[in-house]
Symmetry: C2
Subunit: 418 residues, 2 copies
C-alpha cells in the first residue's frame, strides 16, 4: 500500500484490500452466489446488495475488539432498508433514529423502544409526540424542545425520557464531517447545558444521560480517542448539574471505513484500550452509566455493493467509457457529489471478470446527461463489454437513500439483503 | 453590484436583484397571493412553488429577444413536474427528454411527438423501443445505438427518426459544466461522425440533423456565441457527409441564470445578434434547416421558489441558526452539494418579513443530522422566529428531482404550479 505522497514514478496509492466478498472462478460471490446469478435472481439492474453474513461478522468482530459492556447502537440513517434494520436490531444494543419516519421503521423492525434514541435538530411536534408515545429516549437539542416536550408530555400523559445532546467545546480532529465544537446547529452548547438541565428538572422530564457526537468518518484512532476522552470528561463535569444520575452516556461514533486510494482500515486496538480505561473510570466516577458507541457507516458500509450493468462501451478520443445503467441518481457519494471537496474513486470492479488483466484509463459513467454522472474515473479495470456487471464496493451506507433517485426519471435501484 | 474582488471594507458581492415575485406589505407574492396564504393553501411545508406567469413571461421575453424563427426547446430534465411540462409544452416548440420516464411525461403533457427529441448516453433497449413507437427524434450517441435502432426498427416496422449528437472538437468556455470537447461520454466524437453517418444511411434510419451541446449554466455571452458559431461551422462540415439534408440543427443551450453573489443576468443581445447571423448563413448554406436552442434551467429556474418553515431558532456561541423543516433532502443544490466545488449561498429571504431590518450572520439549516444540511451560511436576513417562512429563490430547476428526498426519511416536499 502506498502513501498518498507517492513520489513520481512510484505506484500510486491503492484502495485498501477488500476481502469481505470472496471470488470464485472470476466471479464475485455475494450472498453466497456468483454475482451474475444474483443479478438474474434480482431480475434487474442496477441494485444494491447487502450481505447478512458480512453485517453479522462486522458486529461480531467489533464486539470482540471492544471491551465487554460497551454498548453498540446502529445509527440507521446510514441504511434504513427495513429488513436490514431488522437484521441489525437483532445484533446491536440499540437503534438511533433521526426522524419520525426512521422511528417507524425501527419499531416495525422489532427494536425495543427502550433502546431506541432519537437525535436531530428541528424535531417537529408530530415527531416528538410519536417519540413520547413510543417511549423512546429523546436527545434534546434545544431549549425549545424542553418546552415542547413538557407541554406534550403533560397533554398526553406519556412520560418523557430524555438525554441532552451536547455541542462540545472541542472538535473531532481529522474527521470527515465535524459535528461539534464552535457554533453548530447540533445539540446544546456545553456551557448552556447546566441551565438546560435545570429546566429539564423543573419540567419533570425524565433525565437519563448525555449524547455527544463530535464527527464522523474518521480513520485516525488518536483523534477518536481524544474525542472520546474529552467527551467523557465533559459529561463528568455536566453530570454535576444533572437532576438524576447518568444512566446512559452516548460517546458518539466517528469510526471511518476506507473509501479512497491510500486510506487504511481503522485500527481498533488503541480505541478499545481507551474505552476500557473510560469504562473503569465510569464505574467509579459515573456509577450505573452505560457507555454507548453509535455507529452507522462503520457497521454497514463495507457489507454492501452497488451493481450496475454495462450498456455501452465507447472510446472517445482514446479514452474508454463504460456506459452503465447505474449512476449518481442511485449512488451520489460514489460520483463524488456528496460532501467531498475533491472527487476520488470508490473501489470499483467488474464483478463477473474479477482478476482479469486490467486495462488502464477506463471511466465508468451512468446514463444521465451530466458530466457529474461518473462512478469511476480513469481506473485500471479488466476489459468489459455490454452485459458485464460493474461493482462499486463500500456501498452499504449512504447509498440509495442519500441519492437523488428521481433525477432524470430513470428506474429506481433495487435493494436486496442476501 | 460589487465585483467578487471587493476590497476589504467595501460591500461584499451581492445577489443579482430578484424581481420576478413582487412584494406587498412585506409579503412575497407567489401565484398572485401572499406567501403565508399560499403556504396555508398548500397545507404543509416545505414546498416548491412554480409561477405560471413567470414561466410564460420568461419564454415571451426570450422570444422577443431572439430572432424570429429560432426554435426554443424545453429540456425537461430541469423540472419534470408533469403539469409544469404541460404548461411549457404550450409555450415552446419542442421538448427534450433524457429517459424513457421523461418521454412518458412529455407525451402525457401533450407534447407533439414530432417535436420531442431524446438524448442521453446508455439508452436502454426498452427506451429506444418506446422512442420508436412514439415517433420522436432520437439523438444517436454511439455506434451501438445505430445497430440497435436498425434491428428494433426492422423488428417493429416503426420508422426511426434520428439526429447525431456530436461531441465537438472544442469546449464551451466558462461553463458551469462542460459537456463537449476532449474525451466525453456524450455524443460521438466529431471525427467519427462521417463514418457513423454512413452506417446510419446503410441501416436505413431517417437522418434529420445534428445535436451539439457544449455545456450548461454559462453567464458569459462571448463564450456562448463562440460555442454556437463553432457548432454551426462543425455542423456545416459534417453535413457534407450526411445522407440527407439537415432539417434540424440543435445548437444546445448553456444559458445560465445568476445564483450566487456577484453573478449578473446573461445579456441576450449579443447572443441574439449572433443567432441572426447564423440564421442568415443557414438560409444559404444549410437550406431548410431549423435552428433550435435547447434550454432547461434558463426557462424555469427563476420561476420557482423553495419554501420551508422555521422550526427552531438557536443561538450557538453567538451564531444564529434558523432550523427549518426543509433542507438538502429537498434542495441539494442550495446546500452546495451538487456539482459545486466551493459552497456559496443561493439567494434566501424570509418570505413573510420581506424588507425587514437584516441581522447579520444568520445560518439557515435543515433538520438532518449532517453539517452538509445548510441552506444559507452567515447571511444577512430579517429577524425570524419559528413559524416564519424561509424562501430559497432560483429554485425552479434541478430542485426536488435532483435531491435525495429519502435521506433520513423525512416527509417529501410538495410541488405546486401557481
Amino acid at each position: 500500500m502506498q502513501s498518498p505522497e507517492t513520489p513520481a514514478g512510484k505506484v500510486p496509492p491503492q484502495h485498501a484490500p477488500l476481502e469481505q466478498f470472496p471470488v470464485v472462478d472470476g466471479q464475485l460471490q455475494v450472498g453466497g452466489q456468483p454475482l451474475s446469478r444474483l443479478a438474474d435472481r434480482v431480475g434487474r439492474t442496477p441494485f444494491y446488495a447487502y450481505g447478512r453474513h458480512q453485517l453479522t461478522a462486522r458486529v461480531q468482530a467489533l464486539r470482540a475488539a471492544l471491551p465487554a459492556g460497551i454498548e453498540l447502537h446502529y445509527a440507521m440513517k446510514a441504511n434504513p432498508m427495513p429488513v436490514l434494520v431488522a437484521h441489525m436490531a437483532g445484533l446491536v444494543d440499540g437503534i438511533d433514529v433521526a426522524s419520525g419516519g426512521e422511528l417507524q421503521v425501527a419499531l416495525d423492525a422489532g427494536a425495543d423502544p427502550r433502546e431506541i434514541s432519537f437525535a436531530g435538530p428541528g424535531k417537529s411536534e408530530p415527531e416528538l409526540r410519536q417519540a413520547l408515545a413510543a417511549g423512546i429516549l429523546i436527545n434534546i437539542e434545544s431549549f425549545r424542545e424542553v418546552d415542547l416536550l413538557a407541554r406534550l408530555s403533560e397533554g398526553t400523559g406519556y412520560a418523557a425520557r430524555v438525554a441532552v445532546r451536547v455541542n462540545p467545546d472541542f472538535e473531532l480532529k481529522s474527521s470527515g464531517m465535524k459535528m461539534g465544537g464552535g457554533p453548530k446547529q447540533f445539540g446544546v452548547d456545553a456551557e448552556q447545558v447546566p441551565q438546560l438541565l435545570q429546566l429539564i428538572a423543573a419540567a419533570g422530564l425524565g433525565f437519563e444521560g448525555f449524547h455527544l457526537f463530535a464527527g464522523s468518518q474518521n480513520l485516525k484512532p488518536d483523534a477518536i480517542i481524544e474525542a472520546q476522552q474529552k467527551s467523557f470528561e465533559l459529561a463528568l463535569r455536566l453530570a454535576e448539574s444533572a437532576p438524576a444520575p447518568v444512566r446512559v452516556l452516548n460517546l458518539g461514533g466517528g469510526f471511518g471505513i476506507p473509501y479512497f486510494p491510500g486510506e487504511q482500515r481503522l485500527d481498533l486496538a488503541p480505541i478499545a484500550a481507551n474505552l476500557a480505561a473510560l469504562q473503569a473510570r465510569a464505574a467509579q466516577e459515573m456509577p450505573g452509566a452505560r457507555l454507548v458507541i453509535e455507529l452507522g457507516r462503520y457497521l454497514v458500509g463495507e457489507a454492501g455493493v452497488y451493481v450496475c450493468r454495462v450498456v455501452d462501451r465507447k472510446v472517445s478520443r482514446g479514452q474508454v467509457y463504460l456506459v452503465t445503467d447505474g449512476g449518481l441518481h442511485h449512488h451520489l457519494a460514489a460520483s463524488g457529489n456528496f460532501g467531498q471537496v475533491i472527487r476520488k474513486n470508490y473501489p470499483v470492479a467488474i464483478g463477473n471478470r474479477m482478476g482479469g488483466e486490467p486495462e488502464p484509463g477506463v471511466s465508468v459513467v451512468g446514463p444521465l446527461c451530466t458530466p457529474l454522472d461518473l462512478l469511476g474515473e480513469r481506473m485500471a479495470l479488466p476489459h468489459a463489454e455490454p452485459g458485464d456487471l460493474v461493482v462499486v464496493f463500500q456501498s452499504g451506507a449512504y447509498g440509495v437513500s442519500a441519492s437523488p433517485q428521481n433525477f432524470l426519471s430513470h428506474p429506481p435501484a433495487a435493494e436486496v439483503l442476501v
